[in-house]
């Protein structure tokens, strides 16, 4: 693996560009998707079909006053939104977009991504606490308990994949699934893994929706109850950074799901693979996440936590044991 | 006996064996009163025209007893309204009771108090609905309800020092 400065620079710019473009244009996708589901058209004024709307929104956010209310903890208040962006962008370093496009293929890339996800949770906690607003504190408390609860089944199901592929390196996991959709982890026919892998996929997908605080798990920013939750006191780019962080997390979650279960950059019919298949897969997953948000109402906090602790964790542990048994037997 | 009859009989307990219960409130006999104060007792007006099946005029201190009788009969408190009669120097408080389901029987219980010291006992321990209705009557007319746990203004600002629905209110 080269360590040339040009390569590092290329990937630095590339990843930042990918993350920023996604954050901006996922907002457009969300607004259009929401609109169509709600039988209206969404942004159409600015640019063709509203494609320049994110630009207009970005300019608006940047030109607003960066209000820091009196009585907040100055350093932490300013730090929290920045901290919210860091895990998302840094996780993209290890994601294999295709066989040749990957910033860094690390041996423990999966572990890196999960470790950084916890950092995102801390950003929410700090943002809510530093605001000094009762609504924000309630929302942070909810967000932390939710993220904690849903990280566990996510890790357990990721371990099942690691056990099958024998490596934590995302590139190796993806390479292991090359050759058509019957090789993908979700349908793994060999050794009878197809019995357990689809359960892993569903649990992992639910957890990734919950980890990124998307409806129906958006307790933290329950708009109708807590005004804007932990983001209440943030204006302008503080709010902008939190929202960008959320969208980048969605992208990372989709990339991870695609890599772990759907074969990464592999073509489903065994023909030429490439980065475009990867892009297609993650956008189908992101569209599903958007679709779910605009269809379902919100759950209650105790039902949310019950779902994780009493249903997802036992199922994922049973899944883990079954996978281990299958590996041992075959 | 139909509902109106049963209720009337129950309410008659308010006026039983009290020859002197009909001491008028000061001002009852003032001439030129815009609306004649009704005599003490129970009457049955035309429900089609007035919307009421029974009308009861009682003394201010009998209001709680009337509420209790009607509570036992299964009525609910529909509204409490105040009326200002400045010509006779009186204020009247109207209690409307009705039935929730079954045959309708609206009962109007009225009590008159003097305008300078309008005081009535509260019925909020019999009907919790009276809590807010009495606060509103106090807010608009200045009628004090003795025994009310929290007699503060409900709709006007807390620091207002006027009672707008009085006829002599000047903004």
């Amino acid at each position: 693996m080269e360590t040339s400065i040009w390569r590092a620079l290329f990937y630095l710019v590339g990843i930042m560009a990918f993350a920023a473009l996604n954050a901006a244009y996922l907002v457009w996708c969300e607004r259009k998707g929401a609109a169509r589901i709600q039988r209206r058209s969404g942004p159409t004024e600015v640019g063709y079909e509203g494609l320049l709307q994110p630009l207009a929104d970005g300019l608006k956010l940047m030109s607003k006053q960066l209000l820091v209310p009196r009585g907040v903890d100055g350093v932490i208040f300013r730090l929290a939104p920045v901290l919210a962006m860091i895990p998302g962008i840094t996780s993209m370093v290890v994601i294999p977009f295709s066989g040749n496009i990957q910033a860094r293929a690390m041996e423990l890339s999966l572990l890196l991504i999960f470790a950084l996800a916890s950092l995102g949770m801390i950003a929410i906690l700090l943002g809510g606490w530093a605001s000094g607003n009762k609504y924000a504190i309630i929302s942070s408390a909810r967000a932390v308990s939710q993220n904690l609860a849903y990280e566990i089944p996510m890790l357990i199901t990721a371990i099942t994949v690691v056990m099958i592929s024998g490596s934590m390196n995302l590139r190796e996991i993806a390479l292991d699934q090359q050759g058509g959709f019957w090789q993908w982890n979700i349908f793994r026919l060999e050794n009878g893994h197809f019995l357990t892998m689809w359960v892993s996929f569903i649990i992992f997908f639910i957890c990734s929706v919950a980890e990124t605080n998307r409806a129906p798990f958006d307790m933290a920013e329950a708009e109708s109850e807590l005004v804007a939750g932990y983001m209440t006191e943030y204006g302008s780019m503080g709010y902008g950074l939190f929202m960008m962080g959320e969208y980048i997390n969605i992208v990372v979650g989709a990339c991870l799901t695609a890599t772990l279960f759907l074969g990464g950059w592999d073509c489903p019919f065994g023909l030429t693979s490439g980065v475009w298949w990867f892009i297609l897969k993650i956008y189908i997953l992101i569209f599903t996440v958007i679709w779910i948000r605009w269809t379902y109402p919100r759950t209650q906090i105790y039902r949310l936590l019950n779902l994780s602790w009493k249903i997802l964790i036992p199922f994922s542990m049973a899944n883990l044991l079954l996978t281990a048994a299958l590996i041992k037997v075959f | 006996m139909d509902l109106t009859e049963t209720t009337r009989t129950a309410l008659a307990a308010l006026f039983s064996g009290e020859a002197a219960s009909t001491t008028p409130v000061a001002g009852d006999d003032a001439p030129e009163a815009a609306a004649e104060p009704a005599p003490f007792g129970i009457s049955e007006p035309d429900p089609v025209r007035t919307g009421t099946w029974l009308e009861v005029r009682c003394r201010p201190d009998q209001v709680v007893e009337a509420a209790r009788i009607l509570d036992d009969q299964g009525f609910f408190l529909e509204s409490i309204a105040g009326v200002d009669w400045p010509d006779s120097g009186q204020m009247e408080v109207l209690y409307d009771y009705n039935r929730l389901g079954g045959t309708t029987c609206r009962v109007l219980v009225r009590a008159r108090v003097t305008r300078d010291e309008p005081v009535l006992p509260t019925i909020s321990h019999v009907f919790p609905a009276a809590d807010w209705h009495e606060r509103e009557t106090f807010d608009f007319y200045g009628v004090r309800f003795e025994g009310h746990a929290n007699l503060i203004r409900i709709l006007l600002p807390e620091d207002a020092d006027f009672h707008p629905l009085r006829k002599d209110y000047q903004p």
Partner: protein, 372 residues
């Protein structure tokens, strides 16, 4: 879920569900004393949109108060029009022609459906489902277009007059209403019930939440869907019939469970019953004038009158005291939501914040009606 909560002054904090809040449907302030996420004490604070309509009634003539009636509960303004017209017609002894009564019923029931649709949309918005708002507003737009043809207004109607209504309906209105009935009947099972009412997240969110017993309803004077959701069969249209409601064949949906789900189902069934009433009224619509003979300056004889009508939120009462003059001497508006909200303090104790907000949504509050 309600849990008994012990008040520990050093461990509770006061959260202000302030006048500006997405969930309080208007300017209502609720002072919540909270223990974590549990409510220890809830105290609604009213008066943020108090406009003293009762004094305005005394200041003008009877006819001058008609526009005010629509400004109180703007979602079911025609019922408020109707209540005021009814009490003055009782006091003055005015006859209303039959066609006018039928038109009154048709428009009031259309308005009731519109009000319930908006309640449904706002309730789901409180619970986090953003999309049903747009679906309900689609149907509501049809109703508003129909009513605009006839009354001239979209929301705050001043359509009824003493002795009838001010404008007759035409064939296009009748055809449009029939088409609307067919359309809504087709949409109710698919879009409203399959997608939303049977949604497991919604059911878990409102079933067994906010239990109100029938005795509590009686003690607090709650009427309308709140009482009917607790098993009390009380509807002014059936128990104290007015206008031409006795001519129609319709049911009163009553659900005994007393939770938010029961109140939800009562309102959804009421939409269907209103459609039945409108259909029958259109079939039986007689000809004739739409406004009776009324003196130019109304001076009802002195006396006390009361009229009750059934609005979307409960029994609306007008207590009128006349003194023979051309202005009302005293008007007391008995607002249904005022009584419905008074039981909030007792029921919300021990609830979780999210559940308390779902319960508030199921009460169907319109704050200008409470504050008058």
């Amino acid at each position: 879920m309600n849990v008994p909560v012990h008040l520990r002054p050093d461990e509770t904090f006061v959260l202000n569900l302030g006048p500006q809040h997405p969930a309080t449907h208007g300017v209502l302030r609720v002072k919540l004393t909270m223990d974590g996420e549990y409510i220890v004490h809830a105290e609604p604070v009213l008066g943020y949109i108090h406009r003293m309509h009762e004094k305005l009634a005394e200041a003008g003539t009877f006819a001058q108060f008609m526009p005010n009636t629509a400004r109180m509960d703007y979602l079911h303004a025609l019922a408020f029009n109707h209540g005021w017209a009814l009490v003055v017609e009782k006091a003055a002894g005015i006859e209303v022609p039959e066609r006018a009564e039928y038109i009154r019923v048709i428009t009031v029931e259309l308005n009731r459906i519109a009000s319930h649709l908006l309640w449904w949309a706002a309730f789901l918005l409180d619970l986090g489902g953003f999309t049903p708002l747009l679906y309900a507003f689609d149907d509501r737009e049809q109703i508003i277009d129909l009513l605009e043809r006839v009354t001239g207004s979209r929301l705050t109607y001043c359509y009824m007059r003493f002795g009838g209504v001010c404008n007759d309906i035409d064939d296009e209105f009748v055809a449009g209403t029939r088409a609307f009935i067919q359309r809504l009947r087709g949409r109710l099972p698919r879009i409203y019930h399959d997608l939303v009412t049977h949604n497991i997240i919604l059911i878990k969110r409102i079933k067994d939440i906010g239990f109100v017993s029938a005795e509590q309803c009686r003690r607090y004077g709650a009427t309308g869907p709140v009482a009917r959701g607790s098993g009390i069969s009380y509807d002014v249209r059936k128990n104290e019939p007015y206008s031409v409601y006795p001519e129609f064949d319709f049911d009163i949906p009553v659900f005994p469970e007393g939770d938010s789900m029961a109140r939800y189902m009562v309102r959804m069934h009421e939409i269907e019953q209103s459609l039945r009433i409108i259909e029958q009224a259109l079939d039986k619509l007689p000809g004739g004038p739409v406004l009776g003979k009324v003196p130019k300056m109304l001076k009802p004889e002195a006396g006390y009158s009361y009229s009750a009508v059934e609005t979307a939120r409960g029994s609306l009462g007008h207590r009128l005291v006349c003194d023979g003059g051309k202005n009302p001497y005293k008007l007391k508006l008995r607002s249904p939501t005022f009584s419905n909200l008074s039981l909030y303090g007792e029921v919300a104790e021990g609830m979780l914040l999210a559940d308390a907000l779902a319960f508030m949504g199921s009460l169907d509050l319109v704050i200008p009606e409470i504050d008058r």
